[in-house]
Every structure is written in structure tokens, then in C-alpha cells.
């Protein structure tokens, strides 16, 4: 199922997301319906790849659109609509994680790591999922935002409150680690290539980068 977000069109064309959102903020219900149709699947995919339970993903998706509805009157097209929408989704996801962690800490173990037997039959790439789950949380989040949500480095930097250089180096590290996990045989060759290079200006991919107090 293709859940890649629609290609952004900025500055806003008549049918752009930003145009539709502005039209909705002025009372056009059809515009919101169009936005919902466009982003229903991407937002569901966003949550589905980050939560164990498909029902939770559905609930959080719905919550995101309701939050978008509530915030429509305050919407200003200062950034791409999809960045705005993913920022809302990310906040809702973090709130959900906090609540789940609190419940699990004090009231019992959550469902936790996805059980392959309970996965949706239509979902594929279980081996990819398992490899992704082995990444560090921040690296994993950056990788997912780039690969599936198609956010730019700058947008990821804004969303996660991380420096741009950190986003780039962590993304490279995540991709390298994922490649090693997926293709162990090919890992050695590329590692050698990476080690033989002398970065001109950017930090090494394996360098430990201090985090900016952000927690995924």
C-alpha cells in the first residue's frame, strides 16, 4: 500500500494542501475532505510504523485529524502543510508514548514489541521492521521520517529539535546500520569504503553526537 505523502507543491497552487487548508479555515468542508483523503493513509502509516497495535494507530490517526480540525482557525501557511500535519502527529505520538510508558511502569507490562503473529496479514517487510527496531530510537525516528514521510533534513531538524548536521550524520549512521543488519555480507566492503574517506567538513558517521535533550 502506497502511503507516501503527496508531492508538496509550494508556493501554493489552487489544489495544493496549503490552499485546501486555508479554504477549510474559511469554511470549506470539501477542502478538508480532500485533505483527509490525501493524508489518511500517510498518517495511518506514520503511526502504524511506530506503534505495536493497529488499533492504536487508527485511534491516533483519528486524533490527529481531530486536532487538525481544532487548530484550523489558527492555521497560517508559514510552512508546508504536511510538515505542520506531521508535527501534530508527532506530538500526539509522544503523548501516547508517555501515557503508555506511565501505565506500563506503574500498572503492568504493555503489549510492547510487536508480535509477528498478530501483524496484519497484508503488511509485509517483517524482516525490515525487525532490523529497523534494532536501531537507536533517535536514528530510527530520523530514518523513518526521511524514508516514509519524505521530510527534508531541515524539516526533520525542526520536528525533532536537533541540529541539521546531527540529523544528517545520524541519518547516515542509521542507513549504514540498517544496511549492515539487512546485508551483513555487504557491510564489510562499504565500511572499508567509508573508513578510507576523509570527510572534508562533516563529522564522522560513527562519531558520538551529543543529543539536544530531545527524547523520541
Amino acid at each position: 500500500m502506497n502511503d507516501t505523502p503527496p508531492t508538496p507543491a509550494y508556493p501554493a497552487s489552487p489544489a495544493s494542501d496549503e490552499h485546501l487548508m486555508l479554504a477549510f479555515s474559511k469554511g470549506s468542508a470539501e477542502s478538508f475532505n480532500e485533505l483527509f483523503l490525501r493524508y489518511k493513509q500517510p498518517i495511518y502509516g506514520f503511526f502504524r510504523r511506530r506503534t505495536a497495535d493497529p488499533h492504536h494507530a487508527e485511534e491516533l490517526s483519528q486524533e490527529t485529524f481531530l486536532a487538525l480540525l481544532r487548530a484550523a482557525a489558527r492555521y497560517e501557511p508559514r510552512a508546508l502543510f504536511r510538515t505542520y500535519l506531521y508535527a501534530i502527529a508527532f506530538k500526539i505520538l509522544r503523548a501516547h508514548r508517555r501515557k503508555a510508558a506511565f501505565r506500563a511502569t506503574f500498572f503492568g507490562q504493555p503489549k510492547g514489541i510487536p508480535d509477528p503473529s498478530k501483524q496484519d496479514a497484508t503488511e509485509s517487510g517483517l524482516w525490515v521492521r525487525r532490523a529497523v527496531e534494532k536501531l537507536e530510537p533517535i536514528d530510527r525516528e530520523i530514518l523513518l521520517l526521511r524514508e516514509f514521510e519524505q521530510l527534508s533534513y531541515a524539516e526533520i531538524s525542526d520536528l525533532l529539535q536537533l541540529p541539521l548536521s546531527t540529523v544528517r550524520s545520524r541519518l547516515f549512521r542509521a542507513r549504514t546500520a540498517l544496511r549492515n543488519l539487512l546485508e551483513p555480507s555487504a557491510a564489510q566492503a562499504t565500511n572499508e569504503a567509508a573508513h578510507s574517506t576523509e570527510p572534508a567538513s562533516s563529522p564522522s558517521a560513527t562519531q558520538t553526537i551529543p543529543e539536544k535533550g530531545f527524547r523520541i
Binding site: 489558527r74 506500563a104 497484508t122 521492521r129
Partner: protein, 454 residues
């Protein structure tokens, strides 16, 4: 294995694939990629990884009917029709700033306005106008009093406060009205029988008592001359010229026949001088005196109080009269009757007790009347201080020395406080830390484990 150093970092190649490089840098990376087999391998590897990730697909999103209905309802209401969504007092940051600024300006106006008004009120021109107005009013009142006095002189009997009126009061119908002279200059007509209190006193006793230079008639006249009000005024004035204000203060007191009950002058070095005084001014001259005091400078605060003591005075007069009657009866018993020595002694003791009460009540009455006759002004006169350049400033070395000494003392005090704190509470803190550390560690570990799993 290639060990050729690259001028382009692997991250840049990745950024090039992601379209995150500037056109110029992207061009140079493309050129490099054409000739570098190692980087081409990296590109292939990164593309393969992305391709592998694309295998992770997600099932189609399901939209429940209940959510669809809820969303449709919310969309129908929002954002144009929903009061919760459309009605916002501060829809944007700009409006918040504007509103906050407006509120701030309003507060400033509210704060500064009264101060400006007070300043204007006490401006020299206004103060002069007020003083003139008060003087005119006083002159007018004097004229009216004189006229009334002339008109009533034929049929009214004047009872000076210090004198005695031993004439028997006549029946209310044709009793001459009495004008009493108080310790002040006020003259008040007495309509005998018009006041209930006055009636009671007059009816009970047809003769006036002459005791210590006062008469019941005088007291009655005071009672019936209107409400007795003990006035107190608190006034705070800031004067530009303290010396001249001090001289003017004495002149005002002398002019209005007042006196100062207490007066304190403070003149600290390097600060404004101030004067605090408790002044007594005849009540009738209070407005004029106040106006003149206010003309001394800028009135910062003024508070006037008037305590009505008419009832208190009437009660006192009645009790005094009864006690005097009792004393007279006891003396009559002592002179006219015969009996045992013990009875005589008992009567004398009773007379002594009654005499004591009478003297106490007379003192209270005097005090009360004095409070009515003389208004109290609690005056605070401050100087509008201007710092003088020629005041000897401490040397810089002295300042540094003092600051260093103070700093050393502060550090020593702080260290001592810390040591004392830990000496006092350290054992308890350690106890609680040990007690809470175990569950906190357990919760923390569990939290980390759970958050990693979610």
C-alpha cells in the same frame, strides 16, 4: 580495498541522493561519482537500503463509521460555525501582543492619572485659589454670625463659658435661648426644649451648678449647639524649601491660635529632612489652617476623620449631674441627720467615692471638649531632596575594601550556613535518599525498559 582519500564525505553523497545539496555542490558530487568506484558502491548500497525499506508496507487505513460521522459533524461545525473553534479572544500572537500592550498602557494611565491629578490639585495656583476660597468662606461665616448675634442679643442671654448662670430656667415656652461660648470662638444658638437630652437635664434640675468655673447651662448649650465632632487630619506634604516651610508652619500655628503637641525634626546626612508634628488647631479654624498647610508644598496624602462624640458627651453630662446631686444629698444627710458614728463614717466614705467619680468624669468631659474644640493635625513635612555633588563620597579604595570585606563575610556566612544545614539535616537527607533510591531505581529501570519497548 581502496584507501584513496576522498574529498567528498559519504554523508554528502547520501545528501546528494536525497536532493539536499546546493546545485553547485551537487554538480561537483556528480562529477566525483562518475570517476569514483567506491562512491558508486556506496550509492548503490544506499539505494538498496532504501529499496529494502520500501518493502515495509502498511495495510490500508480503516475509517470506522463512528469516526466518519464524528469527523463529518466536526467538519460541518468547524471552523466557521463552531463557537469553540471560531470564537477566540486572541487568535494570533500579534493580537496577544497588541492586547497586552493596550492593557499595559491602560494600567500606566490608571497609575499615572491619579498622581497627575493630585499634582495638579496641589499646584501653587490651585493651592492659592483654595486658600482664598476658604478665607472668603470664613469671612462670610463671621459676618453671618455677627448678624445673628446682633439680632438675638435683645432676648437671648449670653453665658460665657468661664462664667456662671445661676438664673432659673424659665418654662420652655418663654425661656430665653442661650448662646454658649466654648473654648473656641464658635457661638451656637440653643433652642431650649428642642433637644430631648437637653430637656431631660433641665427638667430634672431647676438650678444650675457652679463647679470649677463651668455651668450646666454651658454644658447644655454645648449639647444643643449641634453635633460635637472630634476632628483629626493626617497630612503628608513634600516641600521644596524645608526651612521656609518650617518657619511658615510656626506662623500658621500662631495665626490660628494653635499649638504643637509634639514635633520631631529629622535631618539625616545625605537624605531628605523631615518633620513630624502633632498640631492642635481650633476646630473652627481648621479649614483655613489646612489650606495654608497645603500651600507649604505638594500634598502627597491627606486623610480626614471626624468622630461624633455628642452622645458620649451627653451621657457624661447626665452622669455628672446625677453624681453631683447624690453628693449634695449625702452632704445634706450628713449635716441634717444624726446617728451612730459608724453611719456617719459610712456616709463620708460614700461622699468620698462620689467625689472621686465626679472628678474623674469632669476630667473626661474636659478631655472630650478639648478634642472637639481643637482639631488634631498629624503633619508629616518632608523635603524634596536633591543630592548634592559636594557631599563627601567615600574613596574608591574604601569602597573596594568594604565590598571585599562584605564579600568575604558573605562567602563565610554562606559556607557556614551550608555546613550547618548539612550538619542539621544531612543525616535525615541521607536516610531518605537511601530509602527512596531503591524504588526510584526500580521505577527508572522499568521506565527505560518500557519506553524502549513501545
Amino acid at each position: 580495498m581502496s584507501t584513496t582519500p576522498h574529498s567528498i564525505a559519504p554523508e554528502e553523497i547520501m545528501a546528494h541522493l536525497d536532493g539536499e545539496l546546493s546545485p553547485a555542490r551537487a554538480q561537483s558530487v556528480s562529477t566525483h561519482l562518475e570517476s569514483c568506484a567506491t562512491c558508486q558502491e556506496l550509492v548503490t548500497s544506499l539505494r538498496n537500503t532504501s529499496h529494502s525499506l520500501s518493502n515495509w508496507t502498511v495495510a490500508a487505513a480503516k475509517v470506522s463509521s463512528s469516526f466518519a460521522e464524528r469527523l463529518s459533524a466536526a467538519v460541518a461545525k468547524a471552523p466557521s460555525n463552531s463557537p469553540g473553534l471560531k470564537f477566540q479572544i486572541f487568535p494570533s500572537q500579534r493580537w496577544r501582543l497588541l492586547t497586552a500592550s493596550a492593557v499595559l498602557v491602560l494600567l500606566l494611565i490608571l497609575i499615572i492619572g491619579p498622581m497627575g491629578g493630585r499634582y495638579n490639585m496641589t499646584a501653587p495656583e490651585t493651592r492659592q485659589a483654595v486658600a482664598m476660597h476658604v478665607a472668603e468662606q470664613e469671612a462670610e461665616e463671621s459676618r453671618v454670625r455677627a448678624k445673628a448675634k446682633d439680632q438675638l442679643q435683645d432676648k437671648w442671654v449670653y453665658v460665657p463659658r468661664s462664667g456662671l448662670n445661676l438664673s432659673k430656667p424659665e418654662p420652655p415656652s418663654n425661656r430665653p435661648e442661650v448662646i454658649g461660648h466654648g473654648s473656641g470662638n464658635g457661638i451656637g444658638p440653643v433652642s431650649a426644649g428642642s433637644d430631648g437630652i437637653t430637656h431631660g437635664i433641665v427638667d430634672n434640675d431647676q438650678s444650675s451648678f457652679a463647679l470649677e468655673g463651668k455651668s450646666i447651662s454651658a454644658q447644655q448649650s454645648r449639647l444643643s449647639s449641634g453635633p460635637m465632632i472630634a476632628r483629626t487630619v493626617a497630612l503628608s506634604i513634600v516641600a521644596k524649601d524645608f526651612e521656609s516651610a518650617r518657619v511658615s508652619l510656626d506662623a500658621i500655628l500662631a495665626r490660628h491660635n494653635g499649638y504643637s503637641a509634639s514635633l520631631t525634626v529629622n535631618a539625616p546626612q545625605g537624605a531628605a529632612r523631615s518633620l513630624q508634628a502633632s498640631l492642635r488647631i481650633p476646630a473652627q479654624q481648621l479649614p483655613a489652617a489646612l489650606a495654608e498647610f497645603k500651600a507649604l508644598g505638594r500634598a502627597e496624602a491627606e486623610n480626614q476623620n471626624g468622630e461624633e462624640v455628642t452622645q458620649q458627651h451627653a451621657d457624661l453630662v447626665a452622669r455628672l449631674k446625677n453624681s453631683r446631686e447624690t453628693e449634695q444629698r449625702l452632704q445634706a444627710i450628713l449635716t441634717q441627720r444624726t446617728g451612730k458614728i459608724s453611719d456617719v463614717l459610712e456616709v463620708e466614705q460614700e461622699i468620698a467615692r462620689v467625689r472621686g467619680e465626679i472628678e474623674q468624669m469632669e476630667a473626661e468631659q474636659k478631655n472630650l471638649e478639648h478634642r472637639v474644640d481643637f482639631a488634631t493635625i498629624d503633619l508629616k513635612l518632608s523635603e524634596e531632596y536633591k543630592a548634592k555633588l559636594d557631599s563627601p563620597a567615600p574613596a574608591i579604595s574604601t569602597l573596594i575594601h568594604n565590598a571585599a570585606v562584605n564579600g568575604y563575610r558573605n562567602v563565610a556566612d554562606t559556607l557556614l550556613s551550608i555546613v550547618l544545614f548539612f550538619a542539621e539535616y544531612g543525616p535525615v537527607l541521607i536516610f531518605w535518599l537511601l530509602l527512596l533510591a531503591i524504588p526510584a531505581t526500580l521505577v527508572w529501570r522499568r521506565w527505560r525498559h518500557v519506553t524502549a519497548a513501545i
